[in-house]
């Protein structure tokens, strides 16, 4: 019989003594009723008990010269300051992504910069009236211009359409057979 899936982690933590009293009591009540969970708890507890076998030997002492050697090494070293530690941590694993991010930021800044505006010392003076006259006198054949002309008068629209109709049209394409059929085709 298998342990309840939702209880596996809590059972492991119970075996480790890492559950609070309330949760532990609730889980113990469940263990009394559930064979699968009880078996699982027994196995996990067995594993934790086995781990205890490998506890470091409490009778072992460090060799007599250990401290003397250690002090000689420590005096030769100096502690790393927080700043030095930060610099030491900046190996390629940190440096490469940092450079990538920096490059990305520079590119974004450049992309957001507005395009340079062309300013002339003596800008051409174009009056609004002249512009309107230009549009009306030689308008392009667009729907907007037709609407403008129609808004002025129907005569203007008629003139515009007549003018465009009289303009020479591009020559119509002439289709010719380019593939010569063999003599015995028919």
């Amino acid at each position: 019989m298998k342990a309840c899936e939702k209880n596996r982690k809590p059972i492991a933590w119970l075996a480790l003594g890492a559950l609070d009293a309330k949760e532990a009591a609730a889980l113990r009540a469940h263990l009394a009723d559930c064979d699968g969970c009880r078996k699982y708890f027994k196995e996990v507890s067995g594993a934790t008990n086995t781990l205890g076998v490998a506890t470091p030997d409490a009778d072992v002492q460090a060799p007599a010269h250990f401290h003397r050697q250690l002090m000689a090494r420590l005096r030769a070293e100096k502690p790393i300051s927080a700043w030095d530690g930060l610099l030491a941590a900046l190996n390629w694993r940190v440096a490469v992504p940092a450079m990538m991010v920096l490059l990305l930021v520079v590119l974004l800044v450049l992309a957001r910069k507005p395009a340079p505006t062309v300013t002339s010392v003596n800008p051409p003076r174009v009056s609004v009236v002249a512009a309107v006259v230009t549009v009306v006198s030689d308008p392009a054949p667009t729907a907007v211009n037709y609407q403008l002309a129609a808004a002025q008068s129907l005569t203007k629209l008629d003139e515009l359409l007549t003018k465009e109709g009289n303009e020479s049209l591009p020559p119509a394409p002439v289709y010719t057979a380019t593939t010569k059929l063999p003599d015995n085709a028919f």
Partner: protein, 206 residues
């Protein structure tokens, strides 16, 4: 240093650590005197060889001195030392390449064989002690088969006897992460334990 220095550290250690963090090497030496034997025991349990254990423990204390500014008091100082010890031990194992039997000299090979025979025959020790040592070695091998992060939490929980909060502080992760790693480690150890029990049952009785 953070005012929440683990209260369970030995009395007097706190002020010595503060002096050491201010750059006083002699104060750090006194701190080392307090912890070096315990650290050596941990190191010996990991290495199984006195010379290597001594080197590993000294390297750990030297590294601790060099980066003492990183100790923030979220765990006991000894737990922090053990976290460094475990990292260094893992790095040592990583660097160490397996040596082929044929690569050993004839004399080394003979010596190694003799050692294995002596160990397996248990001549030098009473049966109980030899068996216990064998079991401990087996457990160590099982722990060694776990992923490095799971080994760390098992070691700190069972052999350094640190709280979950202390382990989280020493490893720089959350308590939830520590609990999760412990669960997965225990799952694997449970399976290994079950396999070993089955193996023992299959053994012919002497």
């Amino acid at each position: 240093m953070n005012p929440t220095v683990a209260e369970t550290d030995l009395p007097g250690t706190r002020s010595l650590l503060e002096q050491a963090q201010a750059g006083d090497v002699e104060a750090f030496g006194e701190v080392c005197r307090v912890y070096e034997t315990r650290l050596f025991r941990q190191s010996l349990a990991l290495c199984g060889n006195e010379a290597l254990a001594q080197e590993l423990a000294q390297d750990t204390l030297v590294e601790a001195w060099k980066c003492l500014h990183r100790y923030n008091g979220r765990c006991q100082f000894f737990t922090w030392l053990c976290a460094i010890l475990l990292n260094r031990h893992r790095n040592t194992l990583r660097k160490k390449r397996p040596v082929a039997w044929s690569a050993l000299g004839a004399r080394d090979g003979e010596e190694f064989k003799n050692k294995i025979e002596n160990t397996s025959s248990g001549e030098a020790q009473p049966d109980g002690a030899a068996e216990l040592k064998e079991q401990a070695a087996l457990v160590r091998r099982c722990i060694g088969a776990l992923p490095a992060k799971q080994q760390q939490v098992i070691h700190l929980r069972f052999y350094v006897d640190e709280s979950l909060e202390g382990i989280a502080g020493a490893l720089g992760c959350s308590v939830g992460t520590v609990k999760s790693r412990l669960f997965h480690a225990l799952e694997k150890l449970r399976a290994m334990n079950a396999m070993h029990a089955q193996f023992e049952e299959l053994k012919p009785e002497e």
